[in-house]
């Protein structure tokens, strides 16, 4: 009964002949949050894009399998991928500022996505949209439907994007640096939201970030990526308490922490 929701085996990606992701493997179970930590250039974003087969031009997947609920996405037809993207596999990105279409209302964009994936009619899609917005803690969902993206703050936009991602009942949510561009108080709200919804809806969340503190608070297991490889993977508490790899140790050491009472925290 422990069939993982998502299983990635030996994923490799090349750009212009150079291997930038090399034999990456991990699994994600339903109701679990897996953290993928790495600095810039480690290949973590490319890995996540590969899952949705959305690699940028010039990047090619040269090997590996991506198995979602028993189906290998590497060999799936493009039509099948389109049905999956935004449906069973949803993704939210780092820059909420640019992820929404500026000339359409929130309602139009949400309803469009819902209607497409869940095959609803207008009226049904609308009420599903209102419900989705309510679930992410937006106070007046009906009014939000008529708003345009530029009138919303970063935190609001990210919430709308999460609503959009969750409205189509995904099995897997990929969150690529979802709070890096947000203020710290907004970040706390959004992370709290992701964790709450994830446990309510039993989806698998892949959380990609460079911030070890974020994974410490949200992820049950964490994998550390460096130069295209996963060099260490462990339950988060264990990774932080006793990291095995020198690179992980230095990442931890360099992560400055807030000292709340005298003599605590700081850098190791």
């Amino acid at each position: 009964m422990d069939v993982p929701l998502l299983s990635v085996r030996d994923l490799s990606i090349e750009i212009a002949g150079t291997r930038v992701v090399d034999g990456v493997s991990f699994t994600l179970a339903a109701g679990e949050t897996l953290g993928l930590v790495g600095e810039s250039g480690s290949g973590k974003t490319l890995t996540s894009l590969a899952l949705l087969r959305l690699l940028p031009p010039g990047a090619r997947m040269t090997g590996g399998q991506i198995i979602l609920e028993g189906e290998d996405l590497v060999v799936a037809r493009e039509a099948r991928m389109r049905a999956l993207r935004g449906g069973a596999m949803a993704m939210i990105f780092q820059e909420p500022m640019t992820a929404l279409n500026p000339v359409r209302t929130i309602g139009a964009q949400l309803e469009h996505v819902i209607a497409r994936h869940r095959h609803f009619r207008r009226v049904q899609a609308r009420s599903a949209a209102i419900e989705a917005l309510g679930r992410v803690g937006i106070a007046a969902p009906k009014r939000m439907l008529r708003e345009y993206p530029h009138r919303l703050s970063g935190g609001m936009r990210q919430r709308v994007l999460i609503a959009m991602a969750l409205a189509c009942e995904p099995r897997v949510l990929i969150a690529d640096e979802p709070t890096t561009a947000l203020d710290v108080t907004t970040q706390a709200q959004v992370l709290d939201l992701i964790v709450r919804l994830q446990s309510e809806l039993r989806i698998g969340v892949l959380l990609i970030t460079h911030d070890l503190a974020v994974v410490a608070e949200t992820c049950v297991r964490t994998a550390v990526m460096r130069a295209g490889r996963i060099i260490e993977e462990a339950p988060t508490a264990q990774l932080i308490a006793s990291p095995y790899e020198p690179y992980t140790q230095s990442l931890l050491a360099n992560t400055l922490r807030v000292r709340r009472a005298a003599g605590e925290g700081g850098t190791t």
Binding site: I15, T18, R19, V20, S40, G41
Partner: protein
């Protein structure tokens, strides 16, 4: 070990020459323009086409070894005249392109840097006024008013053509002036004029080069139309004046003049346009190969 970042950093170094070396059409166009330029140079140094004025041949002779494209109504060698016109085209094109582009860069740069102030408004207003004057009427009026001033036609062209470059440069400068490296220069205490000349305008050279080539072509085309309309004011012969002459000849069944002039002009304008496109693609910093 920053594999992805390394790749992205090396790509721009392949840069302009790299992109040009893969652009076949651009290379051919550049070659053609070079050939024309050599012709123009040769004419001005007296190496060839010096018999363009002579009227000693019989009129309307068919093409022969003495006169490659025959002669015109008053017995002049069409081929020699066509070649000489290349020099006329280049001298007008170069002078107008150079001055109009520099003027546009200067005024556009000042306007952009002074964005929001009265100086900017003034220059934008000036550009608007000049743009709204019908070009050919303007040239005709200027030619009449400044009858004894040499290069009246070139002056008129410059006065009208600089505005396009000016607008483009102004927009680019407004964008550049908001970047942090300009702020950094200000914090150090670099005076504004130096910021413009050292930091901002050099970052617009890609724009200026493309604009210069476009202006060159526009000047040549404008000259042809002006000469055809009888408003051209320049010494010697040009493709425009040849085409103007040919209107009378065509009725009598002699096409030599027309074909020579329009053919050569077509070749140069086409080549220049393709070259301008290729340069634009090569110089655009956002288009990674």
């Amino acid at each position: 070990m920053d594999a992805v970042a390394d790749i992205i950093v090396t790509a721009p170094r392949r840069g302009v020459l790299g992109k040009l070396s893969r652009d076949r059409a651009g290379q051919i166009a550049a070659l053609v323009v070079l050939v024309y330029a050599i012709i123009a140079l040769g004419v001005s140094l007296g190496w060839w086409a010096d018999g363009w004025r002579a009227t000693d041949a019989p009129q309307w002779e068919a093409p022969s070894s003495a006169h490659l494209l025959g002669t015109n109504r008053i017995g002049q060698d069409i081929w020699a005249r066509a070649l000489y016109s290349t020099k006329t085209a280049f001298s007008i094109g170069l002078s107008v392109a150079l001055v109009a582009t520099l003027l546009g860069a200067l005024l556009g740069g000042i306007a952009g840097l002074a964005h929001g102030s009265w100086m900017d408004e003034l220059i934008v207003w000036l550009m608007g006024v000049l743009d709204s004057i019908p070009f050919y009427l303007f040239v005709a009026g200027l030619a009449f008013a400044l009858q004894n001033v040499p290069y009246v036609m070139q002056i008129a062209m410059i006065v009208v053509f600089w505005t396009t470059t000016g607008r483009l440069v102004r927009a680019e400068v407004i964008k550049l002036a908001s970047l942090d490296f300009v702020a950094a220069a200000r914090v150090i205490g670099v005076p504004e004029r130096r910021i413009l000349s050292r930091h901002i305008l050099p970052n617009t050279t890609h724009l200026l080069l493309v604009q210069a080539t476009i202006t060159f072509v526009a000047a040549i085309k404008a000259e042809v139309i002006l000469s055809f309309l009888g408003l051209g004011t320049h010494e010697g012969v040009s493709w425009g004046s040849m085409i103007a002459e040919s209107t009378a000849e065509i009725a009598a069944g002699h096409f030599g003049n027309f074909i020579a002039a329009s053919g050569l002009m077509f070749g140069l304008v086409l080549a220049f346009n393709v070259l301008a496109d290729a340069l634009q693609d090569a110089l655009d910093p956002r288009l990674v190969a």
